[in-house]
Symmetry: C2
Subunit: 153 residues, 2 copies
DNA sequence: CAAATCTTGATGAATCAAGTCAGGAATCTA
DNA sequence: TAGATTCCTGACTTGATTCATCAAGATTTG
């Protein structure tokens, strides 16, 4: 798994929506400003996530986006797969994005066997972790004191 | 971590060299033929691995490549990093290929914290696994019976 | 010297990543 | 109803990267 800038933006944007779970919708401009994401680009990303059924939108002056399901029911795996594709390091070990590779016998390819373990490990982690967990972790990190950059009196 | 075709070729080629550890050198053409890798492309890849100190070469009619160290001392992590770069899903959590990301406070970025765990897990796996392990696994898989594709009498 | 090999550097086509743009459609408020 | 604000749609641009291919040179052995 390699996260593109697009994927990073998607996760950061959804984290904002997860944090505002109570609100009706959050306008895109708010997300763009808060997370410093180019607005036009974010437009494209959110539209993709809507097509994927991850978010819902509302038009007009009171418009914006919100999560289509509770944050605790949206695993990071789902988002990453929609935006950046396979979690697997090789597409021949991907479940959802499987592609045949060039080795003669997949069933007995040592490299494939190793990469399958990597895939399974990463997929399990990303499947377990949800947007709600991400928000919770952000709050926990916020609670920590600022790094003592300059602590001399 | 996402493995490019280049990275896959590199690992497969080195697996051949590891298997022929006794031999003086293995000519590139042998590797290219056995693993079905375009020769010109393999040339480029092996040259890179030589610059990285992973393989040694010998010119002339008896020329070829061999591992610069015992296969058991070459972790997959080393190879992948040289050919495909960072193991981390985000460069802001990479040790060797660190790049600052756009979030305001890295130390308290939830996404970074999660991806750091992924990186640590993947890096540990790839650091532990060596070329020798890869060869051993290939042999173990070879020992398995052929898949019963057609078992009807 | 001839043949096989690695060495070096250039080149090329296709694809992708990141971002931009224009014009349209929906929705609310005055 | 007008106007402001928002999302919707699809095309486009720019630069880098990926996956190679090629030519000419250097080295080594028979």
């Amino acid at each position: 798994m390699k996260l593109s800038v697009r994927g990073e933006y998607a996760l950061r944007a959804l984290q904002v929506l997860a944090r505002h779970s109570g609100d009706a919708v959050v306008p895109m401009q708010t997300i763009a400003t808060e997370q410093n994401i180019p607005r036009r680009f974010l437009e494209q990303i959110l539209h993709g996530l809507k097509a994927a059924g991850v978010v819902e939108s509302r038009r007009g002056i009171t418009g914006g986006y919100r999560l289509a399901r509770p944050a605790s029911e949206i695993p990071l795996a789902t988002i990453i797969r929609h935006v950046d594709g396979a979690l697997a390091p090789l597409s021949c070990v991907s479940h959802q994005f499987y592609e045949k590779c060039s080795c003669p016998d997949e069933a007995r390819c040592a490299l494939r066997s190793v990469m399958k373990e990597v895939r399974d490990t990463v997929a399990a982690m990303m499947e377990r972790m949800t947007l709600a967990d991400l928000v919770a972790r952000a709050e926990a990190l916020q609670a920590q004191p600022m790094e003592p950059v300059d602590f001399v009196i």
